[in-house]
């Protein structure tokens, strides 16, 4: 297990290096920031542009810029925003907890809904409950997330007036964005839980557990679920990337001031340091989530732990 973890951590470090390199390189590809920044803002001479580049450190060769960036990442200094000179680090420090809160709440909601539903569908395979759950899941899968978000706002904020439509001032604000993401994740996870449960339930140790006289609830939630957990955890780890991508859109709709909103504004304003910082942190987050998955595997499955 220890060797396995060391290997995984080294892999993660390598992934982070590749990701940051790609981010830095891709952003430069989109053009000269000095020209883009000054577009439509009156006339600038070549000398002015040169000064802007110098001020922003853009006159250095790419390798130097990348090295500065990566040193910054290690020390937690992501540079300053092109606008107003706020440190990117403090912008992220403000936005990241909100995004994490939203992501984890959505994920928790999805797990809490998809596991009982999936198990119920598997146990009643081919019966009305199973068909119902599968149809609902298909409906959930067919919604684009922003559409669902808008429908929720229309229903719960505008028509019924139960929930605030946007912002992050009070606890009630999180309900709708988390529910939107949660419902969509549930729709996919339910199917996975069902399939994986069906397979586990046909295993002989389940029959053995039943032959011991255990209650069906214990058989399902203790003996079967722990064995289903492995494909489920893998999938949730992979899903995390998609979840973060989805949150960028949802944060916009609900005006949730997290990483998504920050990235969105940075793109609109061509604020490269902010964009670069946000993407790097999100990439780190996804790498960390997958590393966590590897650790959890070992906890759940003794076959990996004792290798």
């Amino acid at each position: 297990m220890a060797g396995f973890l060391v290997k995984r951590i080294l892999q993660a470090v390598f992934v982070v290096l590749v990701v940051t390199l790609l981010v830095a390189w891709a952003i430069r590809l989109s053009g000269d920031p000095a020209i883009m920044l000054t577009q439509g803002a009156g006339s600038f001479t070549e000398q002015d542009l040169q000064n802007i580049r110098k001020a922003l450190g853009l006159d250095q060769p790419f390798t130097v810029q990348y090295l500065q960036f990566i040193t910054g990442v290690v020390t937690g200094d992501f540079g300053k925003s092109f606008f107003g000179g706020t440190s990117v680090g403090s912008l992220i420090a403000h936005a990241l907890p909100l995004t994490l809160l939203l992501a984890l709440t959505s994920l928790a909601l999805a797990v809490a809904m998809s596991i009982p539903l999936g198990i119920h569908a598997a146990v009643n395979r081919g019966k009305a409950a199973d068909t119902g759950i599968r149809i609902l899941s298909l409906v959930g899968l067919s919604f684009p997330n922003f559409w669902l978000a808008i429908m929720m706002v229309l229903t719960f904020s505008i028509t019924l007036g139960w929930l605030p439509p946007s912002g992050a001032e009070e606890p009630a604000n999180i309900v709708m964005p988390a529910l939107t993401m949660g419902v969509i994740l549930t729709a996919t996870n339910v199917r996975l839980v069902r399939t994986s449960m069906l397979e586990t339930l046909s295993a002989q140790y389940i029959m053995v557990a039943r032959s011991k006289g255990l209650k069906e609830r214990v058989v399902l939630y203790k003996h079967a679920l722990r064995n289903c957990a492995i494909p489920l955890i893998t999938y949730i780890g992979l899903q995390f990337g998609g979840l973060i991508g989805g949150i960028v859109v949802i944060e916009r709709v609900f005006n949730w001031p997290g990483m998504g909103s920050l990235a969105f504004d940075a793109v609109a304003a061509r604020d490269y340091p902010v964009l670069q910082g946000v993407i790097t942190v999100l990439a780190l987050l996804i790498v960390a989530a997958n590393l966590l998955v590897d650790i959890v595997y070992g906890l759940v499955d003794p076959r990996i732990r004792t290798e």
Binding site: A203, Y205, V208, S211, K212, G213, L214, N227
Partner: protein, 620 residues
């Protein structure tokens, strides 16, 4: 239908179990009645599809979880508390109080019947805590005592181990400990030893018998193995197609079977010792069921097909090792010594049996010959030509001359291709024929040779039974006119009646085409029927090799003796001598640098070679 005897612990009366299918309900068990007396063993025997496993599940109403329905009948059980309960109509709570407590069950596959994510200790104490209302600590102490009782060494440490760290035999012992944890009055064992090696099987059967005596437990023993029946049973119920065809005391069933099916079943069982005095393998006529009646087929024929002038295949000092563990720097720390310096010849028209238990390396030898893996050392010569010296084209050609038939006929045919395609595929791959009509004719001819009909070529594998599929696999192996067929446990998974037919087919084909067989198996009784010579493998090396009669009638190596002694004989008057059989099968995994000692062989009789046993090399 008779009334239940007053002293019966369990009385099943007119039980009918059905399962819903798309074509209406399927009746798996019909109008079945039997009794189990306290402390006695009832064996339920039958082949696949006979309904014996469904019966075992139905007693505890575990069929409910497979959508099964008890349409009629009763399952009367006398619990400890007195009175009689009808399990067929009992509520969920009543059933749960009986399951694992008054009636416990052991299942067939020890590899999959323990939950991989919980420790052995947790799994055994679970039922104790549930049914006896004791604390976890007390239950754990109890679990340790049980592990001692089923003769598992080092019980204290075993409690914290996980199933994957145990061998199959050990897992089945854990399963027995679990089943006996609440001292049940009735134990249902569904093929508990079928997946185990014979020496381990003998030990497990012995453990079950001893504990049964000690605890006074009654046992329902479900099996297809007539040898196991005579080892274990007091009474026997024979099932065929969901119905009981015969029942009675074990001696009566074996000495005077009344129903034609019982007679056919007993006739098909390979009996160790049936070939005593015969120098050559022999084909026997078979009794087969046709509907409800029997018919005799085939003829008695001595298999005098071997030509010992020049070997077809020579294996010389074959060694195959697999690296399995390395340090972080890539240095090998552990290896599987699958095959070590194995040498033997196969002659034209001869059947050489390669016998051994799990981990003996017998399948690895077969795979090396068929070029499915590259050996670490040694030489394989076919018709005098060394494999290593052959060109790529010659090696391809050799793949035509040597064909492989696998154990599992279900997994070795592509489910999405018609069987005609599967049979024709080797012909196309090797470019033996190109004319479509000619290939089709050839496929029809092959199907005819293995006892199937030409129109079967247009069907898919799932439309055939296990035995028919194995015939298809044989037809495929024959399609490019091979000289040697490697049959790797090819008849082990089949019902005995089907097994006897396939064995006869293989022998008939040998006579007709002068085929050589390398017959890889763990089943000594089948080996005795089919082989001209036998090689016994243990831990990657041959310990005894010689003419079949010599090895069976005069076994010299202690392992050969042990292997022969462990085979259950379908004769109620002969039971296994368990004194010979102890110990686990050791692992062929060794640390790098720790080379196994090589056996030295001596010729004790013409062609009969035995490994010299010294104090260091002695096998248990």
């Amino acid at each position: 239908m008779s009334a239940a005897p007053a002293d019966a612990l369990l009385s099943v009366r007119s039980l009918t179990v059905e399962f819903p299918t798309d074509n209406g309900p399927f009746t798996a068990v019909e109008n079945l009645s039997f009794d189990v007396e306290p402390g006695k063993t009832l064996a339920i025997v039958g082949e696949s599809g006979s309904g014996k496993s469904v019966t075992s599940l139905a007693v505890l109403r575990l069929t409910d979880y497979a959508n099964g329905r008890i349409r009629s009948g009763s399952i009367l059980f006398k619990p400890r508390s007195g009175g009689v309960i009808d399990l067929a109509k009992a509520s969920g709570d009543t059933l749960r109080a009986v399951r694992g407590n008054e009636i416990a069950m052991i299942f067939q596959e020890p590899m999959t019947s323990l939950n991989p994510v919980f420790t052995i200790g947790d799994q055994i104490s679970e039922a104790i805590v549930l049914h006896q209302g004791v604390g976890v600590r007390e239950a754990r102490r109890e679990a340790k005592a049980l592990l001692d009782k089923v003769r598992l060494p080092d019980a204290g440490r075993l409690l914290d181990r996980f199933p994957h760290q145990l061998s199959g035999g050990m897992r089945q012992r854990v399963m027995i400990a679990m089943a006996l944890s609440c001292r049940p009055k009735l134990l249902i064992a569904d093929e508990p030893t079928t997946a185990l090696d014979v020496t381990i099987q003998a030990q497990i059967l012995n453990t079950v018998r001893e504990l049964q005596r000690e605890m006074g437990t009654a046992v329902i023993f479900i099996t297809h193995d007539m040898g196991v029946v005579t080892e274990m049973a007091d009474d026997v119920v024979v099932m065929y197609r969901g119905r009981k065809v015969e029942a009675g005391p074990v001696r009566q069933i074996f000495s005077a079977p009344r129903h034609p099916y019982t007679r056919a079943l007993l006739a098909a069982v390979p009996r160790l010792g049936s070939m005593t005095g015969e120098p050559l393998p022999k084909r026997f006529p078979l009794v087969v069921m046709e509907g409800e009646a029997t018919r005799s087929t085939g003829e008695e024929r001595v298999q005098d097909t071997a030509d010992y002038s020049r070997p077809l295949l020579a294996v010389d000092k074959l060694t195959t090792r697999f690296d399995i563990a390395r340090t972080a720097l890539g240095r090998v720390t552990h290896r599987v010594h699958a095959v070590e310096q194995v040498s033997f010849d196969i002659f034209p028209g001869e059947t050489l049996a390669l016998v051994g238990e799990s981990g003996s390396g017998k399948s690895t030898v077969g795979r090396a010959i068929q070029q499915l893996l590259t050996p670490t050392g040694g030489e394989i010569r076919f018709e005098g030509r060394a494999l290593a010296a052959m060109s790529a084209a010659e090696r391809r050609r050799l793949k035509r001359d040597i064909q492989y038939i696998f154990q599992d006929p279900f997994a070795s045919l592509d489910p999405r291709q018609k069987v005609g395609f599967s049979i024709a595929e080797p012909i196309l791959t090797h470019g033996l024929m190109t004319d479509r009509k000619a290939i089709e004719r050839r496929v029809h001819e092959l199907l005819d040779q293995v006892g199937l009909r030409p129109e079967h070529a247009r069907r898919y594998p799932h439309e055939f039974s296990g035995g028919q599929r194995q015939r298809i696999c044989i037809a495929r192996a024959l399609s490019c006119d091979p000289k040697l067929i490697i049959a790797d446990e090819s008849v082990s998974a089949l019902d005995v009646s089907i097994q006897a037919q396939i064995v006869n087919l293989l022998m008939e084909l040998q006579e007709r085409r002068r085929l050589s067989y390398l017959f890889i198996t763990h089943d000594m009784a089948v080996v005795e029927k089919v082989s001209h010579r036998v090689a016994v493998m243990y831990l990657g090396q041959i310990v005894e090799l010689g003419p079949r009669r010599a090895v069976f009638e005069d076994p010299r190596h202690s392992y050969t003796k042990k292997l022969l002694a462990a085979v259950p004989i379908p004769d109620p008057d002969r039971r296994i001598d368990t004194r010979l059989i102890t110990g686990e099968i050791p692992s062929p995994i060794r640390a790098a640098g720790d080379e196994p000692a090589l056996h030295r062989h001596v010729e004790v009789a013409p062609g009969h070679w035995v490994a010299v046993e010294t104090a260091g090399s002695r096998t248990p």
